[in-house]
C-alpha cells in the first residue's frame, strides 16, 4: 500500500497543515502580528483569520492592545473594517492613528446589555464586513463562545475576546488562546491553546519592536 493511498483515507488526520474550512469566503488564512518571535509560534505565522482568539490577562495596561495593533493597522488598510465592542476606556484616536490604524474603517459600539453585546459581535463577525472584532464581554458561557467561533468562520473575520485570567481554567472552543503577563520590557505571552500542536516556551515580546 503506497503512502498516497494511505493519505487519501478518510480516517487519517494530518496535523501538519491546518486547512481552514473555507466557507466560500476568499480570505487570507492569517495576518502577521508584526512581532517576529510571536509569529514563529503561531500556526499560520500570525493571527488566524476566520477564527476566534482569546487573550487572557490579569491586569489591563500591560500592552495587550499594542500586541494587536500592527495587525489591526494592516487589516484596517484593506477594504474591511475594525469593530470595538465595549472597550474598557475610550480608544484614543491619535494613538491609533500613529500606530497606522485607518480610522475611517473603525466602528465602536457600547451595547447596554451583555446579550446585545454578544449579538453585536456575532453579527459583525458573521457579516464579513469586519476584518477584526475586538470585544470586552463579561464572562460569556461556552455556548456563546462557540457561536462566536462559528460566526468568525462564516465571515472570515478575526474575533478577539479579552478575558480575565481565571477563564484560563475553563475549556473554550476558541481556536487560539494566549495568556499575557507583564514583563519589564514588554509582554510575556504563553500560548495555552492553538491549532495543530502544543506550545512550548512562553514568548517574550519586546515593546516597540514591531516590524510594521
Amino acid at each position: 500500500m503506497s503512502l498516497d493511498r494511505i493519505l487519501q483515507r478518510a480516517d487519517i488526520w494530518r496535523g501538519g497543515d491546518h486547512a481552514l474550512r473555507d466557507k466560500g469566503a476568499a480570505v487570507q488564512r492569517s495576518v502577521p502580528s508584526g512581532y517576529a518571535e510571536l509569529d514563529a509560534q503561531l500556526p499560520g505565522g500570525g493571527w488566524p483569520m476566520g477564527a476566534l482568539a482569546e487573550l487572557l490577562l490579569e491586569q489591563q495596561g500591560i500592552g495587550e492592545v499594542q500586541l494587536l495593533l500592527p495587525a489591526l493597522a494592516q487589516l484596517s488598510r484593506g477594504e474591511r473594517w475594525l469593530m470595538w465592542i465595549s472597550p474598557p476606556y475610550l480608544p484614543y484616536a491619535p494613538a491609533l492613528a500613529t500606530a497606522g490604524v485607518e480610522l475611517t474603517h473603525m466602528l465602536i459600539t457600547r451595547p447596554r446589555t451583555q446579550r446585545d453585546a454578544l449579538w453585536a459581535m456575532e453579527q459583525a463577525l458573521r457579516s464579513g464586513a469586519c476584518a477584526a472584532v475586538l470585544a470586552w464581554l463579561e464572562e460569556p458561557d461556552p455556548q456563546a463562545v462557540r457561536r462566536l467561533q462559528l460566526a468568525a468562520e462564516t465571515g472570515g473575520s478575526l474575533g478577539v475576546l479579552f478575558r480575565p485570567l481565571q477563564a484560563a481554567a475553563q475549556a473554550s472552543p476558541a481556536a487560539l488562546r494566549l495568556q499575557l503577563s507583564a514583563a519589564a520590557d514588554g509582554l510575556e505571552v504563553q500560548i495555552i491553546k492553538r491549532r495543530g500542536g502544543w506550545s512550548r516556551q512562553p514568548v517574550r515580546v519586546r515593546r516597540g519592536h514591531a516590524v510594521a
Binding site: Q60, Q66, Y89, L107, T154, A182
Partner: protein, 478 residues
Amino acid sequence: MLWLSLYLPHLALEVFARGERRAAPLAIYIQQGNRQLVHVRNRAAAQRGIRPGMPINAALALCAELNIRARDEAAEAAALHGLAVWAGQFTSLLSVQSPQGLLLEIEGSLLLFGGLEALREHIAQGVAELGYRARLAVASTPLGAWLLARAGYTQSVTDLPTLTRVLHPLPLSVLECPVQDLAALRGLGLRHVGDCVRLPRAGLAKRFGEDFLDYLDKAFGLRPDPRPRFNAPEQFSAQLPLPAEVTHSEALLFAARRLIVELQGFLLARGAGVQTLVLDLLHADHACSTLSVGLVRPTRDAEHLTSLLRETLERHQLIAPVEGLVMHAEHAIELHGSHRDLFTSRHPEHRDWQQLVEQLRARLGEDRISGVCTCSDHRPELAWRYCPPGENVRLSVGRLRPVWLLPHPQLLVSVDAQPWMDGELNLTRGPERIESGWWDDNDIGRDYFIAENARHERFWIYREIGASVQWFLHGVFA
C-alpha cells in the same frame, strides 16, 4: 396589445384577513335596513356553519370567537390602488377595474420578464405574497381578459380568433349587466355568451340598449376599448386594517411585511430606493404611534427592510392595542445599478458595512455605534471625537500616546509627592508640557509623564503646572 387581468373575488374579506398569519374565523357584514347580515366569511368561519346572508347575531351564536368587521369599500378601493401601485413594476400601462380588478398591458414587458408564462408566474407569486387570492387571465382585448378572469379560464389567449372561440361557451354570469337584464336574457332561453352574439344585433340593441352591444363588441375586439391610465402617486403611502386588535409587536411584522412588498413594487417601478421608512400604528383611542427605520444607503431589498423592521418592532413597547398600520416612504432616491465583480465569491450571509451598521443601529439604538476621528487640538481630551462611521480628518500625529484615554482625568493618591496606583509609580518618560486652549475657557497647562508601576502596568499621568503636587491619571498604555 396583450392584456393581463387580475380578478379578486374575495377582496372584501382579504382587505382585513391578509394582515394576520393564522386564519381565525372572520366574517364581513353589510347593513341592510336595520339588520346586519353576513356578506362574506373565510374558511374557518364557514367550517363553523356560518353562511352568507345569516344575521350577525346568529353567526356569533354559532361561533363565539368570530371576528366581525363591517364591509369597508373605501379600504377595498385603497387596497386596489395599492395593488396597482405594486403592479407598476411590470408595466407602465395599468388600469383599475373597479371594484375588484386590475388590468395590465403586458406586451411590452414580455421580453424583460422572460416570456408570457414566466411573467404570469411572477405576477401570481407576487399577488399571493401580498395576501390576495386572484384569478389571472391573458387575452388580446382588455374586456376579453376580464371576462376570462371572471370565468376562471387559466390558459393564455394571444390572438382574436382564439378569443372568440373561447368566449362563446362562457356562462352569462360573467357579463357585468344589471340583474334584470341577465334575468331577461335567461328568460329568452340564452345560456352562454355565444348565444347572445348569434342574435340579430338590431333586436338586441332595442331590447337591452346600445351599451350592451358595445360591451360585447369590445370584448370580442370589434370595437376599440381605451382604458383610463392609472398614474402612481409620487410618494408611497399604504394602509392595512387588521382583523383583530393586536397586542404584541411580533404579530405586527407579518402585516408590515405585506406593506413592504407593496413598497418594493413601488420602488422597482421607479428604479428607486428608500432612505427612511415610517410605520404608523393606529390605535382605537390613542393618537397613532410612529416607528421609523433609517438607512445608511437607500435600498429596495424587501428582506433587509423586513429584518430591520423586526429589530425595531422588538424594541418598541406598544402603548395600546393596534388596529391598523400605515406605511409611508419619504424620499424615493434613484438607485443606479452597481458594478459586480465577475469572480468574487460572496457567501450568502455576507453583508457590507452599511447594512451591518443599519442592523446594529436598529437593535442597539441610533446613538450606540459610531466611529472616531482625530481633531486638530493640542489638548488631549479634545484631540479626538466621535463621528459618523467612515469619517476622518487626516492629521499627522507623532507623539507617543496611550491607547486608552479616560473620559475624565482621575485624581491619583500621592504618597510623599509621588503618584500611587496599585503601587508606587515610577516616571519613565517625560515631562511633555502641553499648554493650550486660552481662546475658550478650557485652557490647560500640564506636564505629562509616562509612569510604570511594579506590575509593569503603564499609565499616562500629568500634574498641573505650578499648582500643588496633585497627580492625575489620563490614559492607559494597553
